[in-house]
Symmetry: C2
Subunit: 313 residues, 2 copies
């Protein structure tokens, strides 16, 4: 699956992923009104608005991005109908040829992680039938419980050609509290990074591993160190845009082959219509605003990478 992702990144010449993390405040009134008219101001109504919003954005950008990353929390907040909208979003994106990274940050003791892995990346046997409950292509995983909480995900990845991104250094301000604490002179995130490299060795798929990492764009210097520690791990880089990360910060996350990282932006894209730079699109054309923001993001990152490789004109 990591090779499939790389192929799509090359095809689109765009190492980016768009986070479909809808909150009601990001959804234009016209969509909400239509959904509420049909389902009322209910969880069903909100979920219908979310799905409609997502579809229009996906329709507007699917030809220029390789992947979509729905954050499941934004769907769980609308209860069971919200989780159905998550499922429908995953399916819709895949039908459009997009790779789906389920941002679920699951992680638990072994038998429970096995259930999460089956849910999000694998299949479950029911009687003589086999079902794929959510069937994302990648999922994010929390490492706090150690190897036996992570390995069930890797086993499922290997069996089904899927992938994971393990939280190493997260983009938020207080990620320093535990992740930066020194252990034998080196921060915890480096030790986690070493484990990611170790776990990934047994799950190679071409030059890269099915086991990737999450490292926030907001910490470029740490990205540089982690890039070296985990040479075969694809790095999912959140924190670009709304959280403050810029193109120039991102070059450290890439390998010399120009690969090795995929940069996420969520609110910066799906909420573009509310930003000064894109308000001229108007509320109804929020999906076109999203497309313009994606194009700007891709250009920003391409420029940064060209400057890094020194072949800029």
């Amino acid at each position: 699956m990591i090779q499939k992702l790389i192929k799509k990144i090359k095809e689109k010449d765009a190492p980016v992923v768009v986070g479909l993390d809808p909150t009601l405040s990001l959804i234009p009134d016209v969509i909400k009104e239509k959904a509420f008219a049909k389902y009322g101001e209910t969880l069903e109504g909100a979920a219908a608005a979310v799905l409609e919003f997502n579809k229009e954005i996906v329709d507007a950008i699917y030809d220029i991005v390789p992947a979509i990353k729905p954050q499941i929390a934004m769907y769980e907040q609308f209860g069971v109908p919200g989780v159905q909208a998550f499922y429908d979003t995953v399916k819709y994106c895949q039908q459009k040829g997009l790779i789906v990274i389920g941002d679920v940050k699951r992680g638990d003791i072994g038998s429970t992680s096995a259930a999460y892995a089956a849910a999000h990346l694998g299949s479950i046997k029911i009687g003589d039938s086999k079902w794929e409950p959510f069937a994302e292509d990648f999922a994010t995983v929390n490492p706090y419980l150690g190897s036996d909480g992570v390995r069930p995900f890797i086993d499922v990845c290997k069996a089904n050609n899927k992938g994971i991104f393990i939280l190493v250094k997260t983009s938020n301000p207080s990620s320093n509290e535990f992740q930066d604490r020194l252990i034998d002179g080196r921060p915890l995130y480096e030790w986690v990074g070493e484990k990611v490299a170790e776990w990934g060795e047994g799950a190679l798929n071409g030059d890269y591993s099915l086991v990737g990492a999450v490292v926030g764009a907001t910490y470029p210097e740490m990205g540089k160190v982690l890039r070296n520690i985990m040479p075969k791990a694809y790095i999912l880089v959140p924190g670009y845009g709304a959280q403050g990360g810029k193109g120039a910060d991102l070059v450290h996350f890439f390998n010399k082959d120009g690969l090795g990282a995929i940069v996420n932006s969520s609110r910066g894209i799906i909420g573009a219509w509310q930003q000064e730079k894109y308000t001229h699109f108007g509320e109804k054309n929020y999906a076109h605003a999203a497309r313009a923001a994606v194009i700007d993001m891709i250009e920003d990152i391409r420029n940064a990478l060209l400057q890094k490789t020194g072949i800029n004109d």
Copy 2:
């Protein structure tokens, strides 16, 4: 909510919680056959079997336990119908007067944690209406992202009188890999425990805090240390029974008031009918086997606590 939990623990004289973590292999054939006859060997069929299984167990034990802890992974593995069964299980338990601890181990950056907190412990505004998506009473939370990933949960707990249990030292074998690493001479789990105490100070509810901790029964010596570091945190103690923890290991997790901890058993209870000690109940009477296993567990813990306080006869 922690006072409500304490009240129920005292009423039942049972500091225990039963984990409703159903896998298909724990569910008697007769229940599965009935569900599959109605819904086919589908996710819906599995979810129906799970809910039926849960209800019968709850009916058999609700008068002797204060709380139930459904592990959401075991429901997510059955897709959207499984998540519906999770919701229905939460509701059913609450209707029976039980406190529900949603074992969801969520945790993310601030805005995302806020969505998870709303989903599981709070409410969401949709137009002029307010909905409680899953409405558990407590939830478990992963601390890897630090304060800004945890505080949104605490805010929701304070606003809605709910509670959380933060992973400190988990019960699994490889929890040592990161959690036991020494930082300034002390293991990471102690630093997390200190944060739990600090976060909990602002969320007191009587003598205890709405902010509790998870510490595995499998690490009693660490439980002793953590008990002192977090005197006002209720400790949720998994790992009893199937994972190897015994009553005598548990005394360190309690305070001198006989409170401060609640011990979980999952497979040991709901899968009791498959254990040699309880097979005489027969497959159809799996719920009675579960009740017998709960009674044995409560007795084991009561005896251990009596020996600790020295008032055993």
